[in-house]
Symmetry: C2
Subunit: 147 residues, 2 copies
């Protein structure tokens, strides 16, 4: 393996990720939602049944104070709400509102559209290969900065 090939691979990976992040965010905004990339990962954690602020902090890799501020923000914008936790009076369960779900669906649409474009360039089967390769090299990568 040539050194320059390793550099080219690293650059291509970062460029592809940066491009994806930007385009997903643009797609969500174009569908009428306001937000920043971090929302997407937060929503992914909240989606099934809600989560506590501490859960979210762990998921995002930030302090619980930062997660709490993010929740303030998405609550203020109407994407989620804080409810009493059914089993722990200290905790609060943060759950998506209907608008939060709509925003999540918008992000998924945007992603599907972009990946569709990749399939047009590489072909369906090669996109599957790409996904497989990526999953194998970074099974536990961090989830922070993007949709």
């Amino acid at each position: 393996m040539q050194n320059s090939e390793a550099l080219a691979l690293a650059a291509a990976l970062l460029a592809a990720a940066g491009d994806l992040t930007r385009r997903v965010n643009d797609g969500v905004v174009a569908r009428g939602f306001e937000g920043r990339p971090a929302y997407g990962f937060a929503f992914a954690r909240l989606a099934p049944d809600g989560a506590t602020v501490t859960d979210l902090a762990v998921h995002l890799g930030v302090t619980k104070q930062a997660a709490s501020q993010l929740v303030d923000e998405i609550v203020r914008k109407g994407y989620a709400e804080r409810r009493p936790h059914p089993e722990d009076a200290r905790a609060r369960l943060v759950v998506l509102t209907e608008r939060g779900w709509a925003c999540t669906r918008a992000a998924e649409e945007a992603i599907a559209e972009i990946v569709q474009g990749w399939a047009g360039v590489l072909g369906e089967s090669e996109v599957g290969v790409l996904r497989d390769h990526l999953a194998r090299i970074a099974p536990y990568g961090p989830l922070r900065p993007s949709w």
Copy 2:
């Protein structure tokens, strides 16, 4: 293409990029340099023959004020220096110092090491396929947040 497959691909791409960024930075720090991921892209632009602050700002996708502050930082840390520009008395040419070059080489070593690991998982030839796929889906992606 299933929607969930598109989501899995997007998540894997972001995870891989985040993992790469973190590990390159760790590798550079482990080799005795202090820095943040943005340095790497700045150094890549400065490397051949130096660049002006404005060049750097365009390359990084930030304002020239931000680029100027970044240059302050890498100058203060001994990685670069400002010289008069040979053809324009308004401008200054920012060039890497020997320590700046050493830091760049350290980053390249770290990258080579990581990609080596990927070759161990996927095989040499598949790493080439991966690089090709990524280059084809994001030929002009942004270059900002990482080494």
